[in-house]
Symmetry: D2
Subunit: 406 residues, 4 copies
């Protein structure tokens, strides 16, 4: 199926619209558009992806949901202060920032949500509604956004904070059971409500968070049924990227890893949320699972990740890893790594890639979970190996296939 | 071509027979044979390689050349002291060690060779002969070894110290020119003489050192002509392995590496030799080239490797790397790594792999440079990408092709 | 007061007699005695301490209490395996080890004690007795030990596992109230019982653990009243030593530390015990307090220590520290440190120092808490600055004062 | 002698006036004056030093010599770009910057000076004059500066690049011989000429570089004779500070350091100059000597420092250190450290401290080398222990003595 270039703008709806990643993404796109910035970190700007008729930075119009009341300018200020967002870029793009700000609506606040002295009371109200009402409100926001901006479709992107871990529910196992539960009025995690709203209204979805979102079987089924492209779960930006790029090396060399212990220090809102143990559990699970799959799940393998909130680090996450392994003759060796990176600056270009890729897939008629995007996620919803090199090869292969077809 | 399992022992001739890698290799094989040791670090003991009729540890008989007079037991003692070779393994295998020791002959000493208060005067004598005489002596040693041990072939392995860097000579560009130079009596680096001796007498060769050995065009030609399998150059054991496993991650994520600076501290004989700058140049060149190929050879990319001799570290090399890179929004990030490993324990099992692989290739009729072994080398003689994951995939593919044929 | 050299042996009673530190201490002393070992790490073997008539390694006779049933030889085996205790030293001193083993008695098992599949049922019985009975039993063990070995006094050393943290009790505030509580039969932490037993029977005490032991006001009072020398609390062996040696540098340079976050990975029994959060709290408190005192307890200073159990590391603790600080012009800088050390090999010589010092103080008539030993502890019972350099200067000053008097 | 507060401004003459340290110092003082900046990193702003009548930031007037033609604004721009100097501070203080710029004169260019595409031809001319003429020119510049700004004295500060190492000359051993050599017209290193000019004209001097400056016996003698206060040599800002703060810990604990190997990566002009081996030698010598003094100069101790130029790091020096040490039972342990700091932001406040201290000493009648400032230098000209804690205690003691007298 030949895909034509876009003739009308594409909406980008960011859930968690004033968070650090959203801010970096929006201002980054504004900067690209004004030629103030290079596309460093944007995978789809390189070969072979740039040959596909993907949405360009000029095509994108931003809106979003947000549960806190703090201003976008506060988020911008913090990122400039932290040395992540260049000050002159922020100034030059203030007007586009205001437009984005004006297109932000109160989001749904989960009961279990933490970290908020500045929560929006309207979000708490929304959080107290029945699920069917919540979904209707969300879709109404999107319909207005599309109409006002004369969009040719939109992509919904979940960039909200990590939710508290919840047991899987039986009613999540099938679409029928899930819809029955919705009808019954039982409350649902916000990420699941957003995902249902997007997929049921035919809008492609990217879940960059560790939240459930479209990963529950009921919504995987809905996406297939409706033919809506989606990709997720839990962006692979830093330490886990490193782990899944490196762990295969040990396996390929028949070196026996005894322990791979990580320790993350971070000081942004993500760090504050993760200092709550229920929220942390959601996150660590994904980090651990990838490693155990790649190294073999032997009894002798110890893996773990400690996370601590260190306020002064701000957006600059410092992740330390110790790999303790055994070689020939039983010799014990170590690899230590320290990764110091801005989480938001690492995440934002990948989100841009994913927006372009799910939009393209949707236009190319590829509904359901977009397996080719596994390299972007800690816990790809459609499974497959966690080996980053294999995952990347699959993405390249997918693009080449489309190029050959196109 | 179907390859039968071995029916007679395979000779393994180690140049640098009493060095740390040779000692670890020989005692490791003795330990495997006696069931005192697991095969950790031995790639060919895992799938799919173990399905091929490779030589087993029971098939191997060791001999070698050595230019120093120090005893094998001194080398064993140092490695036990350093915690690399387990003391009880060394004791249990003393008898096999004596046999190996008895099969060691004086090697050729290059004029430029350094680091030797304990050099063997017989090696210096050999070093002063005409090249044709040197080659004849070496081949005579091998003929005796084969005859005495009723071997069905042998593999020559270069594990000698790094030679001083030498300008490429015009006469190395073709076999004809090279043989003319041999006839003229012009002296040659020892590694080149050994390689000529091996290939011209039909013996497979592994060059695990950064030395020229069979990598010069004249000898590549000889190997093709004679149909002799060989593999080389410069074993990829530790830091460079890490680099070539990790650098593609940066490229795949469109992250811009500004600097990748390494610093190696080591305290073994290798370290002492490398503290001489002419010898160091040979080594660093290979380390740098791989990285520049993988990251793109841009003007803005800085790469370098510092090497210092720190005696107390012994065989435990400590390699520190700083990767300074740029992400989206121009954000500057770093990855620091510290690798602490026993160089010899990392190298020895790979040498065992290579012995098995070139022997198998030879028996399978695959003469010339064995391209499938690129993953084992810093500077693979037959070129190709330095991406470790791609290299490993090629090795697996090669094995699977042989299994399918077998 | 002039102190004469010892004319009869000194008993050393180790609580936690088959733990890693006790084992290293005892075998280390055996090794020193036999001339198999240098005194590296033993502070009192250097100037000016070696001029004092301290007990020599030949004077010491070992006995101890232990709550687990595992053999001393098991502990020795583990330490040899881990590369901490040299195998030949262990073999050469087996006889002395047997004597020590024979002088070990069941200790008191606290109800809250964890980590024990191999707990001694006799210890559990002892743990269930009334406190006055427990104290009597312990003293009876010591009386027998002294009599059997014709000792001229003994030092009691607490090297047991970290106890679960307990609220301070009002009855611990004075000796009278405490003795009343003992009479009433209310159970006490084992470390407190041992300390009471030692001090009330006139035996000097060293508390190398973070446990309460003699640090409660009631027992500080008892030690003063009885004139018994004691020293404690929580040996400063590795990471905290480093912190208290380094933190003053930041203060002296007017650099503003925003965060000092540590992360400890360890795999020995200590690690297993500390993986329990109640036990961990006791430990972390001391680590944090020293740092806050040295850096100023500002609101902007963040300190913390994560601890995780990584079994394969065994006795080799890996402690990572990140210091995030601000300099002139608001520039943000970092110091990262990774300390890899054998906790037991670091602790054992300090315990030897402390035994010699409290014994000497006792003979010199210096009863009560020995303030000069603050440099050995994370939480010195008599307080004072945590600055390691100031603490060390005080110890030197104390020795010089005694030398001048002697 | 009671010292009165200043009643007229103090001149500060920076040799290397447009280098990174000078720029940070000048703009930092401007920022302090305008209340835009806190005094983080300024030792003399804390107790007890702030009780002394030291020059305040309001008293200082800047001028300087410079051998390159690049603008101060270029230096400011680089430091803002690197995130060392805050952009808004630079803007706010542009006027003061212009005044400083206007008071900058061409400096003396040594024949051996490197790193300069942008060298000032007037400096090369000055470099070619006879030494007596050079000295006269320099003093004339200072006289004008003092007169124009109605200064009550000035302090000369050497902040120039590291000079190529030169053999000590016999004529440097006494003032008489040195002056004879000056008369004879033999050329001298620029740092020596500046020092002679300062001391002979009665102006206090700070040598923050590793250059010879006033450290040669002839000039030490001159300073004594003239009663001029001076302090030097080679500012102890980062890695060496860390070493001299930490090395005593190993000694105090009787731990045996086998190796202390450092590796510095830096990307500023200092790095470019140090990539020249003759210049590097000057630097490394001081780094090594301090460590060997503190750890004992045993044969078994290995120390060394590798330095490499990594352009992208700019002013952010990354210094890695590996300490390999032995504890009790022969256990081998390591401490690794990575220091990431802005060299200029670390140096600038110490230079401010030194200006205040030598000016105060001069006013207090303390001529000659100011021993109390040893804590600021890698190679204090008046010797003494390198132990940072002892050095700092001496500085405090000196201040307290003056306060008691005052």
């Amino acid at each position: 199926m030949t895909v034509s270039p876009r003739s009308a703008p594409l909406g980008v709806w960011l859930i968690g619209a004033r968070g650090a990643i959203s801010t970096c993404l929006a201002y980054g796109v504004f900067g690209l558009r004004r030629g103030l910035l290079g596309a460093t970190g944007v995978v789809t700007d390189g070969e072979p992806f740039c040959e596909l008729p993907l949405a360009s930075e000029d095509d994108l119009v931003f809106g979003g949901h947000e549960v806190s009341t703090r201003d976008l300018s506060a988020s911008v200020g913090e990122l400039v202060q932290a040395g992540v967002l260049p000050g002159d870029l922020a100034q030059a793009c203030a007007e586009e920032g205001d437009l984005f700000s004006a297109a932000t609506r109160p989001g749904i606040l989960d009961a279990a949500e933490v970290g908020g002295q500045d929560l929006d009371p309207r979000s708490a109200e929304l959080g107290a509604l029945l699920p069917r009402e919540q979904i209707a409100r969300v879709i109404a926001d999107w319909d207005s956004f599309e109409a006002e901006n004369k969009l040719d479709g939109m992509v919904v992107v979940d960039l909200s904070s990590t939710e508290a871990q919840q047991e899987a529910r039986p009613a999540w196992q099938s679409l029928a059971a899930f819809e029955e539960e919705l009808d019954s009025g039982r409350s649902q995690p916000a990420s699941v409500l957003y995902a249902y709203a997007a997929l049921s209204s035919g809008r492609p979805l990217v879940n960059f968070t560790p939240n459930r979102s479209a990963s529950i079987p009921a919504l995987m089924e809905l996406a297939e049924k409706k033919g809506v492209a989606h990709a997720g779960r839990d962006g692979k930006t830093g330490e886990t990227l490193l782990k899944t790029a490196l762990a295969p090396m040990f396996t390929h060399r028949a070196l026996k890893v005894h322990a791979w212990q990580g320790y993350n220090m971070l000081g942004n809102r993500d760090g504050a949320v993760l200092s709550d143990s229920a929220h942390r559990a959601t996150k660590i699970e994904n980090k651990d699972r990838a490693l155990r799959e790649l190294l073999g799940d032997g009894d002798e393998l110890h893996t773990g990740v400690g996370i601590d909130y260190v306020p002064s680090l701000g957006d600059w996450k410092t992740a330390m890893d110790l790999v303790h392994f055994e070689g020939f003759l039983g010799a014990r060796m170590t690899l230590q790594m320290t990764w110091t990176g801005s989480d938001s600056a690492l995440a934002a270009p990948l989100v841009l890639d994913l927006i372009r890729l799910v939009d393209f897939a949707q236009r190319a008629g590829e509904g359901g979970s977009l397996r080719a995007t596994a390299c972007f996620f800690k816990a790809p919803v459609s499974g497959g190996s966690h080996d980053f090199h294999q995952q990347h090869a699959k993405l390249v292969h997918w693009a080449e296939k489309h190029l050959a077809e196109g």
